[in-house]
Amino acid sequence: MQTSRRQFLKLTGAGAAAAAARLEAAPAFAQAAGPVKIGVLAIRAGIAAPVGTAGLRGTEWWADRVNKAGGILGRPVQLVVEEESNPKDTVERYRKLILQDKVEVVLGGISTGVTLALGPVAEDLGTPWLSWDGTTQKGVEETMPNPKWAFKSVDNEVEAIAAGILTAKYFKGVKTVAGINNDYSYGHDCWQSYLAVLKKLGMDVKPVLDLFPKLGVTDFTSHIAAIQKAKPDLLMTSFWSGDATILMKQAAAVGLFKTMKGVFTTAGGVHDSLKKEFTPEGLLLGYNSMYFDDPKGSALLKQFVREHKARYNEYPPYECDHAYFCAESYKAAAEKAAGGSRQWPAKAQVVKALEGIEVESLSGKRSWREDHVQMCNFFQGITTHKNGYDFVTVSPLEVISTKQAMKPAGTKLFDWINGWKA
């Protein structure tokens, strides 16, 4: 990096001596002692603030745990947290983490608009970036198929695909469907992928209504009136924030789900706000990639859920585990790259080690695919009131792997779905 800037400065006619005097490029070994600085980007404001908070909590829990156990290769972990907001400001925060704070790795990134901008910046700055929940997909197509430094979350549309598979299993007789999704890429992609899966799986369904309210709307009574008019057999939504709670409540007030099935692909993100009083049994509900009440859950998950509840009085949503996995896989990769020595590995070595690595995460085993996409399980199921909480849980619980529900590297989504053996 330094060379070409120097060349440029020479070109502009100033001395190379001045350029050489720049203090920035401290040699790598100088940083080998002291804590490992880990940059974290978390959304704090707006509709995705709860998701950002969950990711941060997962990361902090991980850091406490790692530090109690002696750190990474003997170095304690130090988190440097910055805010993810709009793409412009987040790119600036990202550059600050790397250029000013000199972190070893950046974790985080949720909104696709932001992570599309972050991807190329990460590649340019040559420091690993492990995204919690953001991809570098434009719509459902990858824009960075072979990144060197960027590690991306599960494709956005996976939970809609998983929900499509389960719809075919649980709601066989459905003939007409309506969709209500947010008016942005995630909402549109989920709806189209969901319909494509239903069609491929031989369900002869007709979409009768597709509503795309703006992100952040808090009153759906008019949308529900439109749904009542369309009278679908099934309503699908990919709402994942407070809007899922609101939709559920306002639907209950007019008894909407007495006359139709419901598929909430992602509402598990706010699962403990889905109170039994207004959330019926028999809906398909997706928890993305972590289900806090997994009967087969590991001791690690149970400990995390217990401590999260004790500390925040809430049951953790999935984003905690996206974040936990990013951090834990980084630790595993650094240790792997060190190859048994206590020598801190170079960033490029850590990135090599990350490719294909599998670690024990909160929800079970997770890994990075060779093309830097997160691999994990998705948890969805049919809502039930038979539990000790005041909100719904699911039973039976279905576990669908990204191996089944995510397009393989280098394929186009709809070609891949159409190529399924039904």
């Binding site: 502009t12 203090l23 550059r95 190329p120 008016d183 942005y184």
Partner: protein, 318 residues
């Protein structure tokens, strides 16, 4: 004379900064220079004509999207083309918008501009096939003066050639605006601001002059918007959201709207202060809200006003 000296020193500092300042602070100079161009234009309306636009982020959006759109759909890669196209697009959009807005003043003017800004924002979000919706459009690295510079790492490109390129654009914009406000036209605007009735009796076409001022200011904002594109590498609808327009007015007021360089200083302080506060406390909006309140109540002349109060005779007033 001290004003001139400060200006020369500031310019010198900006020119030599790439040799001495840490890269990250250099990178922050890029949005500063882009905003400075935007605010020079905004202040022609605000400070000189007495019209406060709460929708100027619309033109930042137009400028940024014009560049991204040319790159995405016509594979253009030249920054000069982006800037000229942004200026033209900004002028084309501004012509009818300005014609409608300048019929009103004060709060109605502010509301009308806000409404147009939100229409554009909604349009960009809604027609995602054309605009990329919430994902926006990539703004690929442009060639500067015909040099592709693709081989350079992006950061070097930004703090090297692009830095000086932005500085040149800012310098040209500043000189241009300086000429405008010192011209008879600028004097007419000030007369309109202070006393529209008098201006009318003097034979100044008040509405027509306001329209001119709006047009110039929109073109500046569009050019500034295009300059914002390459550092982020992506343009998105939040550029046009109403709170962004609010921030523009915030910056102008922070620096001082009654001084020529006030808005430029405002952009500088806003960006570096935000960078610092965001790193220190998670609740930076609270702090910034408080700062804004303090300025509005105690220092309506902004930072320039404070300097001017300290040394009344020495600060050049536009």
């Amino acid at each position: 004379m001290t004003g001139g000296l400060v200006l020369i020193l500031a310019l010198l500092a900006i020119v030599v900064a790439p040799w001495v300042a840490p890269t990250y602070y250099l990178l922050l100079m890029l949005p500063f220079m882009a905003y400075a161009v935007v605010l020079l234009g905004l202040n022609l309306l605000f400070g000189y004509t007495g019209l406060v636009s709460f929708g100027h982020a619309l033109f930042i959006g137009i400028g940024a999207y014009t560049g991204a759109f040319l790159a995405a759909h016509l594979t253009v890669r030249s920054m000069e083309v982006f800037l000229v196209a942004a200026a033209i697009a900004g002028a084309l959009v501004a012509a009818p918008v300005a014609a409608l807005c300048v019929r009103y003043v004060k709060i109605y003017f502010g509301m009308l501009t806000l409404a147009f800004g939100m229409v554009f924002y909604t349009f960009v979000l809604k027609f995602y096939r054309l605009t990329g919706g919430d994902e926006g459009l990539p703004f690929p690295r442009p060639a500067l003066l015909g040099f592709p510079l693709d081989a350079m790492p992006k950061t070097d490109y930004l703090v090297g050639p692009y830095y000086y390129y932005s500085l040149a654009v800012l310098a040209v914009a500043t000189l241009g605006m300086w000429r405008v406000v010192r011209s008879p036209f600028g004097l007419c605007l000030k007369t309109i601001r202070d006393n529209p009735a008098k201006a009318e009796t003097l034979g100044i076409g008040v509405t027509r002059y306001r329209w001119y001022a709006f047009m110039i200011s929109a073109v500046y904002a569009s050019v500034g918007g295009a300059l914002l594109g390459p550092p982020t590498g992506n343009v998105d609808p939040t550029l046009a959201y109403w709170t962004h327009s609010g921030n523009l007015v915030f910056m102008t007021l922070l620096g001082g709207f009654s001084s020529f360089f006030g808005p430029v200083l405002g952009a500088f302080v806003f960006i570096y202060l935000q960078n610092w506060v965001m790193s220190v406390v998670p609740y930076w909006r609270l702090i910034f809200g408080a700062i804004l309140a303090v300025i509005v109540i105690f220092a309506p002349g902004g930072l320039m006003g404070l300097f001017a109060r300290a040394r009344p005779a020495e600060v050049a007033r536009g």
